[in-house]
């Protein structure tokens, strides 16, 4: 399948010139195309922010909801219809700030969804305040003395919670990032991909060049099944590793745990309420 299957044609895109989101849009289209995913079977759920506008810019089903709330929506969509490929997408403020609590619990539930986080270490749409991942000392019109809150480390957090797939990519390296995102989509279980993405308008520190200088790829000798090794890599600060940090394929997915799918694999919308069973329950209440 060609990535152009996902093209929306001539649309007005709300991103700034040079925005890393363009790279992520390309990565997403390529990943879905290479995996032969039909647009009508793909649902992208997003929150609010520049990153969360992404699903409007490719052909797919879209639930563009509230700031921070993509994960519970995505979890429920997958639970209601496991035949759909579900991707939750948003920025660092959306997923790690406003929606931080859901991140913790989605990892515990382990639905078979992919979570793509556009991480530019700054708030874009609200014009340049610090985000949960802003680096120490980062000055903004609000953080006038520079950020002094410890930056949130999504990779370490996810590994600590035994997330079933944890990866980090760079929006500027479409080829490698596509491979990581494809692995995440194919992975059975919750998959987090944190994508480092320069923001040319509001982050003049973590530029494309900065990311290139401050990252390296995990090499082939690296074993993503070793949780402690993964955790060690996740807390490195000098240069941030890119690639697949951690995979735990032993965890059952949320949908697999749900009683509704133990025998019947059909999505909920194809089922009907069994009035005879309801009659039976009511009949028991007559004998009470």
């Amino acid at each position: 399948m060609e990535p152009k299957v996902y093209d929306m044609g001539d649309i007005d895109i709300a991103w700034c010139p040079g925005c890393g989101n363009f790279g992520i849009l390309t990565i997403l289209k390529r990943s879905l195309a290479q995996l032969e995913m039909k647009p009508e079977k793909v649902v992208i759920v997003s929150g609010i922010g520049q990153a969360a506008k992404t699903p409007h810019y490719l052909k797919c089903n879209v639930f563009h909801g509230l700031h921070g709330r993509a994960l519970p929506v995505a979890t429920a969509i997958k639970a209601t219809n496991p035949e759909l490929t579900v991707i939750a997408e948003g920025g660092d403020g959306d997923m790690y700030g406003e929606g931080g609590n859901h991140l913790m619990h989605v990892i515990r539930r382990n639905p078979n969804i992919t979570n793509i986080v556009h991480n530019n270490m700054v708030y874009g749409l609200t014009k340049g305040q610090a985000s949960p991942t802003s680096q120490l000392g980062f000055r903004t019109p609000v953080q006038v003395d520079g950020v002094f809150l410890e930056p949130f480390n999504p990779i370490a957090t996810a590994i600590a919670l035994d997330a079933s797939f944890v990866g980090r990519a760079f929006a500027g390296d479409v080829e490698q990032a596509t491979e990581i995102v494809k692995s995440a989509i194919v992975h059975v279980g919750y998959a987090l991909v944190d994508i480092l993405q320069p923001c040319p308008s509001f982050n003049r520190v973590q530029t494309r060049e900065w990311v290139k200088e401050h990252t390296y790829y995990l090499d082939e000798s690296y074993d993503p099944h070793d949780r402690l090794a993964a955790f060690r890599r996740s807390v490195e600060k000098e240069r941030l590793p890119l690639g697949i940090f951690y995979v735990n394929s032993d965890r059952p997915t949320y949908e697999e745990n749900l009683s509704v799918y133990k025998e019947n694999k059909e999505p909920l919308w194809k089922r009907e309420v069994d009035i005879e069973k309801l009659r039976e329950v009511i009949k028991r209440k007559r004998r009470m």
Binding site: K41, N61, F63, G65, A76, A79, E272, V273, K277
Partner: protein
């Protein structure tokens, strides 16, 4: 106590045809188990039963009480009067305060029944007899036996029930409980024969077959009948019971019941579930609903159906977390930013709780709007029996459209309702957005489209108003005075009016508070005076009626101490009202 002393306490002119029994003791003492068994056994004996409970917010200790009314006629409302009190703790009598009067017979262990000052104390050695059987735990079953004996109920039905109820715990447990029941029954029977208590209850065979439900169960079963197959919630009294009931029946009904990490997650999950083709409900109370309000707003603009069960309790913040109030009407009405339609039901009976919860799913699905079921602790924790529940014409996952490409999720239509597709059913792409959007669901800031979309969404209010529940008039059509009530006050007001006995007064009950049925104005203008009864401090429904009809309701009877209205209280207030005029 000697017989002549007893007679001083008892009105011997006529035997009681209806008895109000109150069980009171510490949390954790098993009062609810006694309630459950008594309700069943008395109903299976052909007596009408109604029970309701009040709790303190704690797991152990304090004092909780349950009132069980047993009668020849159906009486489904709370009364202050206590005919028989069974205290399980030393502070129970004090806890019940003025409800214990010289008409009250207090039955129980010596240390719990006090000195009998101002009431009749009858010692029943529950603890000793129970310990004699093997454990003080059998005191509960003994109490059931005593009450059944007093009411000359059928011991066999109790013995049979204990086998069914406790059979899984082994024959020893069953035998010992049966022994406790037997001993209790004998004591109750002796008391009755001694003339200390004179109760003659009629039994009706048809009652035996009726459906015994709590308000909680009625909401939950109504949800099942409405096709509910997804419930997400965060525990919060008094709404949790609905989710607990459904979780226990989830396998039976192909239902996902998810305890979310919070109410915000719960409502967003429910919206995701509807989007993907499920029929979802959240169940919550005031504080949790507060958290859901952004989700409610999202439901409005994305035109995603949602059913919200809002079990009210007194606020603000934590308020009185285990008690009752009707003070969240305005919250339900105005919650969520922006302007879009919604509907709010306020069931007042078990039948309505079932029927309107079922209806909520149909209405939400048909018009793609949020539908709120506004109940309260009093209704949810009350039990009684009904002859039948309407299972006819149950909707089979209706209102889903198979999509064709290109699909316009927000197609502009005459009535504002666009055919609702779901992903994976047809070739179309289903695009919904909480930003303003065009017909395809994609973002726009175009002023013209904004106006069209707002108007489209609001057009749905026309049909929902057309389909609003007709208020129910109880009493004469030729009323001079009209009493207004909504939600759980229904039975209390009906019984209070029977007591007041005026033939020129009627009661208009609202099981839907928004949008209001168009007949409201006519009902109000026909009355010489209108009195509204609300379990809140500011008369929220009176304000809403004024907003919708321009009619100011002159008289309010309000109660906001966290307790439900009693029949006596409403009757007295209505009598006072008549005198004032």
């Amino acid at each position: 106590m000697r017989r002549e002393e007893v007679e001083r306490f008892m009105d011997k002119t006529a035997p009681m045809k209806e008895v109000s029994i109150v069980l009171c003791g510490e949390a954790g003492q098993g009062i609810q188990t006694v309630e459950e068994i008594l309700n069943s056994v008395l109903k299976l004996s052909g007596h009408n039963v109604f029970s309701t409970s009040e709790f303190m917010s704690r797991i152990r200790g304090g004092n909780n009480s349950t009132e069980i009314r047993v009668s020849s006629q159906k009486v489904n409302a709370y009364v202050d009067r206590i005919d028989i009190l069974v205290p399980f703790s030393q502070s129970a009598i004090q806890h019940l305060g003025e409800r214990v009067t010289d008409k009250t017979i207090v039955l129980g262990d010596k240390e719990n029944i006090g000195g009998g000052n101002g009431y009749m104390a009858v010692e029943v050695p529950f603890s000793r007899e129970a310990s004699d059987i093997g454990s003080p735990l059998y005191a509960n079953t003994m109490a059931v036996g005593v009450i059944l004996g007093l009411l000359s109920g059928d011991l066999e039905i109790l013995q049979d029930y204990l086998q069914r109820f406790l059979g899984a715990k082994g024959s020893d447990v069953v035998q010992k409980n049966r022994e406790a029941a037997r001993r209790g029954y004998r004591i109750g029977n002796d008391l009755r024969r001694s003339g200390r208590v004179d109760i003659v209850l009629g039994a009706s065979p048809e009652v035996k077959e009726e459906i015994l439900l709590s308000g909680t169960e009625a909401v939950a079963l109504g949800a099942v009948a409405g096709g509910c197959n997804f419930v997400s919630f965060y525990p919060m009294s008094p709404s949790t019971g609905v989710a607990v009931f459904l979780a226990q029946h989830a396998k039976n009904f192909d239902m996902i019941v998810e305890q979310a990490e919070g109410e915000i997650a719960a409502i967003n999950m429910a919206l995701g579930a509807w989007y993907a083709g499920a029929r979802a409900m959240v169940t919550t109370s005031g504080g949790g609903f507060d958290l859901m309000t952004e989700g409610l707003s999202l439901a409005g603009i994305t035109e995603t159906p949602i059913v919200i069960h809002l079990g009210q309790r007194p606020g603000g913040a934590t308020g009185l977390p285990t008690r009752t109030e009707q003070a969240d009407l305005e919250l339900a009405l105005y919650a969520g930013h922006g302007e879009s339609p919604r509907a709010i039901f306020s069931p007042g009976t078990i039948d309505e709780a079932f029927r309107l919860t079922r209806r909520a799913f149909e209405l939400a699905g048909a018009y793609q709007i949020p539908v709120i079921i506004l109940t309260d602790q009093y209704l949810l924790d009350s039990y009684y029996h009904v002859p039948s529940l309407d299972l006819s014409n149950v909707e089979k996952n209706g209102h889903l459209a198979k999509t064709k490409s290109p699909y316009r999720r927000y197609e502009l239509t005459e009535d504002g309702v666009s055919p609702r597709g779901i992903p994976g059913f047809g070739d179309g792409l289903v695009v919904v957005a909480g930003n303003e959007h065009d017909e395809q669901g994609h973002l726009t800031e175009d002023a013209h489209i904004r106006r069209e979309m707002v108007a489209k969404r609001l057009r749905k209010l026309r049909s929902t108003t057309e389909e609003a529940e007709t208020p129910q008039l109880v009493g004469t059509e030729d009323y001079r005075d009209l009493v207004i009530g909504w939600g759980s006050t229904y039975h209390t007001i009906v019984e209070a009016l029977q007591r007041v006995g005026r033939d020129d007064i009627a009661f208009l009950h609202f099981a839907q508070v928004y949008p209001l049925h168009r007949s409201v104005e006519d009902y109000l203008t026909r009355a010489r005076s209108v009195i509204i009864i609300e379990n809140n401090a500011t008369g929220q429904f009176a304000k809403l009626i004024k907003l919708c009809t321009g009619i100011e309701i002159g008289h309010t009877i309000l109660k906001f101490d966290g307790r439900p209205f009693s029949v006596e209280q409403v009757a007295e207030a209505l009598r006072d009202h008549a005198e004032v005029k």
